[in-house]
Structure formats: structure tokens, C-alpha cells
């Protein structure tokens, strides 16, 4: 049941230009929650998705964290996958060509532990067509700065974004960590570093305890909290950043249905991402697109941009 959207088809225009990254529709699937897309092909036409943000990819392959890696929490879940991935070369040489062939809008999510690692990774993307944009996971420890997360310090954020921009001409979208005192300062730093758009929010750092064993549930002790539980925090941060920073925002955090997505758009997201929601409903991305179109038709809204930030005035 593939549908055609866009100008001239009588449908409202829901295509998005996210800082140079062009999306057929404003609904992406979030990194780490959709594998490389293939895993969900039984359930959804992955070439119809606004953007498939693939699993966090590193320079070298990574085995990931010891299990348990996930735990359910009230209206949310914790994950500590530990960036298990086969490395950027495998992605570029094995997965990307297939995704490109299928016409998937691929957004590569990259992660590293030093500025150099990020830069080298970004440099590798040259000559590999089919990547629509790069999402920059900065919720990683900077091993050269005592393990402090890149995303918690404006100077490091600016540095890493600059380094990547120098190596890569694709749209660069830093993904902000919500575990900070001042999200606007971080967004500002990303902008100064040359970011083309912002993705927000990544997971909140949390943990769970197994009262039977009296030990933390996760092998890694701490994990990232995602799902509906974090939606209020995500909306608040996007609202704050939208009002201060002049970059398009890819918003997400707990989106489970169309009305959730609309809330994100109203506070300032130009496009949205679905993470944990995919696990509950693998067809969610499509359903949200349908919901948006219906809503816009009913409310006579010609283009999505008329809604972006309407609640943040």
C-alpha cells in the first residue's frame, strides 16, 4: 500500500528539507531501534520511510555490552547495547549498496571516542553515494578527556562537529544528549561548529535494580531511558532550542502515535523520529504519516512548515 505524497498530487506537502537532507515525509526511524531497516521489511516498506537512521556505526567493529542489555520501565525502557556494530566498512560495502538499491533514505548514525575517530569515520563516507545525511551521536565518552561525554560540553561539541564538517560534505545532524544542565548552550555550540540540523533527544541516563539479586539489572549498570516516559523532557528541550537556535530540528523521544508526533512538530521539530515505538508497532512510521496527512487535510494546512513551532511563540 505505497502512497505518493508531495506537491501537485492533491495531498498536503509533507516533504521536508532538514538542513539539506531531503526527506519524502517527516517521519524517520531512530538509530538503534530499526537495525539497518532490513529487519523490519516484513512489516513496512522501508523505502517509504522519511529517513532510516541506521544503527550507531563506529570506525572499527564493536561487540557491544554484556547482557542484560535492556530492561522495561514504567512507560519506557532502558538500553545499554554498547554500540554493537560491524564497523563502518561493513556498513559502506555490504549494507549501504542494498539500501541504496532499494531507494531507502539512509541517514548514517556515527559514534566515536575521539575527535579523530569521528573525523576519520566521516572521511570514509566520501565516494559512497546513497547516504542522505549523517547523524552524529555525541552521547559517547571522549576517552581523551577522561571519559567525559562529548555531548555534555559545549567546547567538545563544537570541536567534534567542526572536525566532521571539515571531512564530509553531507548534512551533519548532531544528536543532543538530554543529560545536561543547559541544552540551549549545547545546541548553540553545535550550530557554531557548523551543524546543518539538530536531532534531539537521545536517551536519558537511567538504571534499574533487580531486587531479587540486589544488583543493577543491566550488564552495564547504566542505560539509556527511552519511550513515552521521556516525552515531556524531549518536548521541553526542543521547545527551548527551537526558540533560541536557528536550525531545523529532528525531534523524538517517546513518540507512540500521530498526536505525539504533532506535539513535537508544534514545539519546533521539522521532522520526527520514532524509536522505541517501532518495537511496539513496527508500522508506526507509516501510521504517523497517514495521520499527519489526514490532520492536515481536515485542518486545511497546506504545508507542514505551517505547523512547525506553532506552540513555541
Amino acid at each position: 500500500m505505497k502512497k505518493e505524497y508531495g506537491q501537485g498530487t492533491g495531498q498536503p506537502d509533507i516533504s521536508v528539507n532538514l538542513g539539506g537532507l531531503s526527506m519524502k515525509n517527516p517521519v524517520a526511524v531512530a538509530s538503534g531501534t530499526f537495525g539497518y531497516g532490513f529487519e523490519y521489511e516484513d512489516f513496512i516498506d522501508i523505502s517509504g520511510i522519511g529517513g532510516v537512521i541506521v544503527k550507531g556505526t563506529t570506525l572499527e567493529p564493536r561487540p557491544g555490552n554484556p547482557p542484560p542489555r535492556i530492561a522495561e520501565t514504567p512507560a519506557g525502557m532502558l538500553n545499554a547495547i554498547g554500540l554493537e556494530n560491524p564497523g563502518v566498512d561493513v556498513f559502506l560495502n555490504e549494507y549501504l549498496p542494498v539500501l541504496r538499491e532499494k531507494g531507502v533514505t539512509v541517514i548514517l548514525n556515527i559514534a566515536g571516542n575521539t575527535v579523530e575517530e569521528y573525523a576519520r569515520l566521516a572521511a570514509k563516507l566520501k565516494g559512497h553515494p546513497g547516504i542522505a545525511g549523517v547523524e552524529l551521536n555525541i552521547s559517547c565518552p571522549n576517552v581523551k578527556e577522561g571519559g567525559l561525554q562529548f555531548g555534555t560540553d559545549p567546547v567538545m561539541v563544537k570541536t567534534v562537529v567542526e572536525a566532521i564538517k571539515a571531512e564530509c560534505s553531507l548534512p551533519i545532524i548532531p544528536k543532543l544528549s538530554p543529560n545536561v544542565t543547559d541544552i540551549v548552550a549545547i545546541a548553540q555550540a553545535a550550530q557554531e561548529g557548523g551543524a546543518d540540523a539538530l536531532a534531539m533527544i537521545n536517551t536519558l541516563m537511567g538504571m534499574a535494580v533487580d531486587i531479587r539479586t540486589k544488583r543493577p539489572v543491566l550488564g552495564n549498570v547504566f542505560g539509556g531511558l527511552s519511550g513515552p516516559a521521556i516525552k515531556p523532557v524531549a518536548l521541553r528541550m526542543i521547545y527551548q532550542v527551537y526558540r533560541e537556535i536557528d536550525l531545523p530540528i529532528l525531534g523524538g523521544g517517546g513518540i507512540m502515535n500521530f498526536t505525539d508526533a504533532l506535539e513535537f512538530i508544534l514545539v519546533g521539530a521539522s521532522a520526527v523520529s520514532i524509536g522505541t515505538g517501532n518495537f511496539v508497532n513496527p508500522c508506526l512510521a507509516d501510521e504517523i504519516v497517514d495521520g499527519l496527512i489526514e490532520y492536515m487535510q481536515e485542518n486545511q494546512i497546506a504545508k507542514l512548515t505551517d505547523l512547525v513551532g506553532a506552540a513555541a511563540v
Binding site: G35, P67, I70, F279
Partner: protein, 263 residues
């Protein structure tokens, strides 16, 4: 091929204290079922509990398009499931994972199940019988009342030996004690599901007797399709790679696994 579907509940019957059988119609899914695969069931439309619950195929009737699950109430999700009632529509996803390996010729199989671990072995037994195998089921539980699958196995026409820890039915002791009485020369393959301690003993028996066997493992899941990498486990501590129970399994060769005793 797997699907997201709305299943219509046919029955949701309490079989023992905390054991229920849920049967629902989902013909499209039923067509693609294979023993050892599992379903991901959405237990609530509310955001809590959030994730789907993985449950093995207990039985499937392709003709009627109905799928049965045997579940044990252990927490919030399974407790909510007990409120499903006939004609309710439930949100189901499946069949998922890699099931048991089917023999290419009729052979002699022993199925060893403990507790609710019996679930995937029922549908497996049905297939093996269809393939003209000799099927013997060693079925253990705490007490007679929990041997809820016995009658159904009997109706299937398999040879059934039961064991209970309290001696209230069959052999008095762990089901794996029944292995001693089996003639390894008359068995080709073992299939097992249940507590890991139990499966470990099956694995040892299989190894010692140069036999072949498969087991079904569990791990907490989010996606159920290999996308989230949440259900990772090293089959053996020395392994370099983590398998994903949902996608690489849940069925594995018993020899590949070092079982975890606490489970």
C-alpha cells in the same frame, strides 16, 4: 515472512494455578508458523507495560487459522493477558525467530520439557508426528496439576513419560532423571526447553552419547526481529560474538550453549 495482525481471541483458559492457554485466530500468521518460532504479543494498549511479550507457539491449526500459546503468569504483562476474553482483538506479531530443525527422514526424537518450557515442544511434536517420527516426550513439573499439556500430548499419540518434583504424578524427581532409562542407541535427536539447569543435563546426555540436540533459549526482548540488539547473549563465555536470541534463535544446538545455572 512474519506479520503484524489483529488476532481474534477464541479462548483464554486457565489450565492450572498460573498456567493459561490462549488461542486466537490469525490465519495469515498461522500459515507461516514453524515449531520453535515465537510470537510477540502486545498485552495492553496503554503505555505501561510498554513492550511486547515473547511467547512460543504452543500449537497451530493451519486449517482453522488458529494459534495457541501456553503462558505462565509471572509478572504484570502475563497477568494482564489473563483478562483477554473470547472475541477480544489482540495485537500480535509473528511468527518470529528460527525454529527447530526438522528432520529430512523419519527418526526417533526425545523431547524434554520442564514447566512452561513444554510450550514449544507441543507444536514440535505435532510436526514430528506428521513427519512419521517416533516421538517420546519427557515432561517434568513441580506437581501433577502443572502437567497441563499431558492430555494433549496423549491425544497427539506420542509416548509420554512424566516426572514431578513432589512425586504427585509419574516419576518422583527431576525430569532429567528419566534420561538414565533411555537407550541412547534408539534416539537420533533431542529437543529441549525449560529451566537451563534441566537443558544443561540434556545437553550433557547428548554430548556423552554423541547425539544431536536443540534447545530453545529466552532473553528479554524489545523488537523481536534483530533490530535492537537487546536480546544478546554469548552462547559460551569464551565466544567473541553475541548471538541475538530473537533472530539467531531462540533455537540453538545444545552443544553450542553453555547453560546458565541460575535460570
Amino acid at each position: 515472512m512474519s506479520f503484524l495482525a489483529k488476532g481474534r481471541v477464541l479462548k483464554n483458559q486457565q489450565l492450572a494455578d498460573d498456567l493459561y492457554e490462549l488461542e486466537f485466530l490469525a490465519p495469515q500468521i498461522a500459515l507461516k508458523c514453524h515449531p520453535g518460532k515465537f510470537m510477540q504479543i502486545r498485552v495492553s494498549e496503554q503505555d505501561d507495560p510498554l513492550l511486547r511479550r515473547p511467547l512460543s507457539l504452543y500449537d497451530v491449526d493451519v486449517d482453522s487459522g488458529s494459534i495457541s500459546l501456553l503462558y505462565k503468569v509471572v509478572g504484570q504483562g502475563t497477568r494482564i493477558m489473563t483478562s483477554f476474553k473470547p472475541d477480544d482483538t489482540i495485537d500480535v506479531m509473528g511468527p518470529l525467530g528460527n525454529g527447530f530443525t526438522m528432520p529430512n527422514y523419519p527418526l526417533n526424537a526425545i523431547l524434554v520439557g520442564g514447566g512452561v518450557g513444554i510450550a514449544p515442544l507441543m507444536y514440535l511434536a505435532r510436526w514430528l508426528i506428521l513427519l512419521d517420527c517416533q516421538v517420546k516426550v519427557l515432561y517434568g513439573a513441580n506437581t501433577a496439576g502443572e502437567l497441563v499439556a499431558s492430555d494433549r500430548f496423549s491425544r497427539l499419540g506420542v509416548e509420554l513419560e512424566v516426572a514431578t518434583l513432589d512425586g504427585s504424578a509419574g516419576y518422583h524427581g527431576p525430569v532429567t532423571d528419566l534420561l538414565k532409562d533411555q537407550d541412547p542407541h534408539e534416539v537420533d535427536s533431542f529437543y529441549t526447553c525449560g529451566p537451563e539447569m534441566m537443558m544443561a543435563e540434556v545437553a550433557e546426555y547428548v554430548a556423552c552419547n554423541y547425539l544431536w540436540g536443540e534447545c530453545s533459549l529466552e532473553e528479554h526482548m524489545a523488537c523481536g526481529v534483530g533490530a535492537c540488539l537487546g536480546c544478546a547473549r554469548k552462547l559460551k563465555p569464551a565466544d567473541v560474538d553475541y548471538v541475538k536470541i530473537c533472530k539467531d534463535g531462540p533455537v540453538f544446538n545444545v552443544q553450542a550453549v553453555e547453560f546458565m545455572m541460575g535460570r
